[in-house]
């Protein structure tokens, strides 16, 4: 698993890509990356799941707590690139109601 991390300067959005699985063994890395960026003053975040295999409940849990943290500082978090399988996880857990979800990273960026 690896994360990619870049800044979209035009929109001022930090874009994180999850390459592989977002699960119990690595979720802390994603969390730390976002917390560090919040400390650096970043407020807009896009997490792109286009290259993600699967997410487990602790991965979902990290997304929930990041979403809270970002909201607390009036930031914005968007998710994008969920395939049908991944989207099912959000629907089953009703987390689709908690997140702003866009089809693609482009659409998500446009929506900030």
């Amino acid at each position: 698993m690896s994360f990619t991390f870049r800044k979209d300067e035009a929109k001022g959005v930090v874009v994180l890509g999850v390459d592989g699985q977002l699960i119990v063994g690595n979720r802390h890395e994603l969390k730390q990356k976002v917390l560090d960026a919040l400390d650096d003053g970043e407020r807009k975040f896009l997490i792109d799941f286009t290259s993600t295999g699967y997410i487990d409940s602790s991965g979902l849990g990290v997304l929930v707590s990041l979403s809270k943290k970002i909201r607390e500082v009036s930031g914005e978090l968007r998710l994008a690139g969920l395939n049908d399988d991944l989207r099912t996880l959000f629907e089953l857990t009703k987390l689709d109601s908690l997140f702003a979800i866009n089809e693609s990273a482009e659409e998500a960026l446009a929506a900030f």
């Binding site: 699960i23 119990v24 409940s57 929930v64 049908d84 857990t93 009703k94």
Partner: protein, 156 residues
């Protein structure tokens, strides 16, 4: 035989697998280490593929469910004790795939787990593991002690 001819004989197919024989068991011993969960899940998924579990969705559900069960076994069951092990046994028959994950812990009572989709729990970071397992597979069984979970997917 005077003209060139070309014929092809196909072996008759293996008799339809009504026989209760067609049963493959895969077992895998996993150390109590969250760092190996992903590899263990991948390995089991590859064996499921080798056993002929093709629908992508079934493999996805199995991977997530197994990942949950493994991390629960490691964290809650074996309480991260590296001297303990988790045993995974997959049984593939013509009608089902069952995945059993057994830890060396004291077990627990799975009936007392609250619904993580209720409004007051929706924003909690934890508590979705068993719920996801129950949603993703067709049947979930625990042993009496509660240290062994069996997740069953019906094929086709």
């Amino acid at each position: 035989m005077t003209a060139p001819l070309r014929l092809s004989v196909r072996r008759s197919e293996v008799p339809p697998p009504e026989a209760p024989d067609r049963r493959i068991e895969i077992s895998l011993r996993v150390p109590t280490d969250l760092g190996v969960v992903e590899e263990a899940v991948d390995l089991v998924a590859r064996h499921c593929l080798a056993s002929g579990i093709p629908p992508r969705a079934a493999r996805f559900r199995l991977r997530v469910a197994l990942c949950e069960a493994l991390s629960n076994a490691i964290v809650y069951g074996n309480r991260m004790d590296p001297a303990k092990r988790v045993d995974v046994t997959v049984v593939v028959t013509d009608t089902t795939v069952s995945v059993q994950v057994r830890d060396e812990g004291d077990g627990f009572d799975p009936s007392g787990i609250p619904d993580p989709t209720s409004p007051e729990r929706l924003e909690m970071a934890e508590g979705r593991g068993l719920f996801l397992i129950r949603q993703l597979v067709d049947e979930v069984r625990f042993n009496e002690r509660g240290n062994s979970i069996c997740m069953i997917l019906h094929r086709a």
